[in-house]
Amino acid sequence: MADTDEAAIHMPSQDGSAHIEVDLSDETQDFRMLSNISFLSDGSQASIPKRGEKDFEPNPTLYQADVLSASRQAMHNALSYPRIHHPKNQIVGVYAPIGPVAPPPTTSNLESITEETQPTESPSKAIGNVHPDACVYVANPKSNLFKTMGQADRWNRIWLLPEEALFMLERGSLNIHWPRSEVGYDEDEHSVEDSEIPMSLQAAYAAFASRGGLNSERFSVYTGLRRLGYTVTRAPGWDDEAEEASSNEPQASENIRQQGAGLAGIYSRFMKWLCPPSSNTALGPVAGVGFHRSYDDIYSKLSIIPWYDPTANLNPGSPAQAPYRVVFHVYKPSTPFKKSAPPAPDFRIAVVNARAHTSFPTLSQLGALLESTPLDPPSSEKMSRQLYMRLRHGYRNVILAVVDEGVVSYLRISEAAFGKEKLYKQKAVANKTQYRPKPKGR
């Protein structure tokens, strides 16, 4: 009956779809809702408004026109909110168009002049361990954001990567100034002295959004996650050409395979020796003739179809090709993060431009991408009990961020190992607490 079918579509059934949270960012929200937030209190305290009511279709009533124009006015007001910096706590960065350089010797103290002689010869190398793509330095890094962003050089300045600088400027936390060399002062190329002229948002996008491997898709993903509180760092796969560092440590794989050789294992091995499994299935039953002491034996003999074991150490295939490469490491806000020694990331993200790559990645592309991620077996206590969670979690996983003109969809891809879940070995009790997979919102 089509009717009941449709009703089921419209009415959220009790289990699955009741869990779907309404993702407010899915659609355009009425900006009038925004004005409910009091801007007088500090921004972090503000709660996000509930979704507003929308009309079905336009009608020529004055009422509707008024509401629409009020919405547009609210949007106009919200978007024209200026980015201002109080002089007391303003953080000023300076754009360095040629990358990290040492400060000019004139500004440094007398004591440091002696060690200054070398840096002036090869400015980009002497800067320490600052990333070569960094292009904005901050002399007074007083913000919580620097806990997860930027790299310090020997002169206590923090260098920001293009995406970090642009994100901070966009959220109004950083005022970036042009260097003197870029705004018409007659100075040499390498001078990155502060010109006091602030960079506009437009200029910052022009300067940073295409710099050092950044593009607008990657930046959309970066800011979207940063806004939600995740810590996002570049992964080794950032540079399209660069060979990926072997992130394929054979760490956990060893102890997984060496399992379950207890007393029962010895017994079963003994039994196997007594009645060796016949490999010939052409004559006689697939399960083989002979003694069958348990159903497990029969089932294991019946499993004649080969399956893929993600934990098996295969010889590495082709390296992951752009864009199916991990470009971001993402950490949950709850994960303790140290800039100097970042922990293992919670998520690995590859960014795909949906306009440039219109088809789903091929198996070899996905395989190479998954192979570039370390083994992440479903080992938590909860997962050891729940079969469906284990299958869903998989043994390797990666998140694809598909960007369609600024709208980002996240897909989690994991390598499930159905062959490793031997159902016949499961106790009947284990299936009582059934886990229902939660439908993902996006």
Binding site: H10, P58, L68, Y81, E182, G406
Partner: protein
């Protein structure tokens, strides 16, 4: 909405393979007059920790940018080169003028903020006072419960006499506190219009953007008054809204097809079911090949035919 008339053509910044608008006036103008919404992709500085309300810049689809260029409303600017060349060519006078302007704006912002803080403080003080007065009145009322009439009169009076005096005192302090004129707010402007000129130099303008083959359908629906936005997240190419998405839900999931393209029946079923499931029509359409474009063969928006698929319950 804004008093200043918009200067046409509006410069659209081409940066890192995408089309951006940075001017709020241009954004509201295009939304109101040309049904171009784009996708807001920036962080709102007033509430930076969320993804529901986003801010400038506005990201335009290549289709939207192309449409505006064809209408003569906008032009495409190679922003990276325009910025670099423009800023390098700044003269000392320009710099000084720009800095003075920013300083004036910063001082204004500072005055606004200090006066707002003052107001807030006053408000808070008044609230505390009102609370105190209410508590006192309650206490007085409880004490003189038997003699009710006298008690209310008695408690009313001190509150009434107290308030004006306090208010007077706060206003005097208010008038004493000036905005600290010496200090100014640092400002990050949204656009580079001052100091750079509004209209770009001809050397930095770019040809109209390359568009996907779905462009005729896009232009056709847009001409019919629909507001279109990217729809991959919802399983289609575009979402078609009957009015401004600020106020209306979308009606159609739009997928473009070639004129002679063979359609996979499964795709039709999937699209139809998806659309019906979210109470929208699944719209499929395309243009007859009539015009050879520099970007390839392209149909006219006028020759576009559209079909909508809906799951009917029988």
């Amino acid at each position: 909405m804004e008093s200043d008339p918009i200067l046409l053509p509006i410069p659209i910044s081409y940066i890192a393979g995408s089309y951006f608008l940075f001017s709020i006036d241009a954004v509201t103008y295009l939304r109101r007059e040309h049904h171009i919404c784009g996708v807001l992709s920036g962080t709102l500085p007033q509430i930076p920790q969320q993804n529901v309300f986003l801010g400038l810049p506005l990201k335009l689809m290549p289709e939207e940018a192309r449409l505006l260029v064809e209408k003569g409303v906008a032009c495409i600017v190679d922003e990276v080169n325009a910025q670099r060349a423009g800023m390098r060519a700044l003269a000392a006078d320009d710099r000084r003028k720009y800095l003075r302007e920013l300083e004036a704006q910063g001082a204004h912002a500072m005055r606004l903020q200090t006066s707002r803080k003052e107001l807030q403080r006053e408000e808070a003080l008044r609230k505390v006072q009102a609370k105190k007065a209410a508590a006192a009145a309650k206490k007085a009322g409880a004490d003189a419960a038997p003699d009710a009439a006298g008690a209310t009169a008695g408690s009313d009076e001190p509150a009434a006499t107290e308030n004006p005096s306090r208010r007077a005192s706060t206003t005097t302090t208010n008038s004493e506190i000036h905005a600290p004129y010496g200090t100014t707010m640092g400002i990050t402007p949204a656009t580079s219009h001052p100091p750079l000129p509004y209209s770009p130099a001809t050397s930095t303008t770019l040809p109209p953007p390359a568009v996907p083959p779905s462009y005729p359908l896009f232009a056709h629906l847009h001409a019919d008054g629909y507001y279109l936005s990217p729809g991959l997240r919802f399983g289609c190419q575009y979402l078609a809204y009957p009015g401004d998405p600020l106020r209306f839900h979308s009606h159609f999931l739009v997928v473009a097809a070639d004129w002679d393209e063979e359609l996979d029946l499964m795709a039709l079923v999937a699209g139809g079911r998806l659309g019906t499931g979210v109470k929208k029509g699944f719209l499929i359409g395309g243009a007859e090949h009539t015009r050879a474009d520099d970007a390839g063969i392209m149909g006219e928006p006028e020759s576009v035919r559209t079909f909508s698929v809906e799951w009917a319950g029988m």
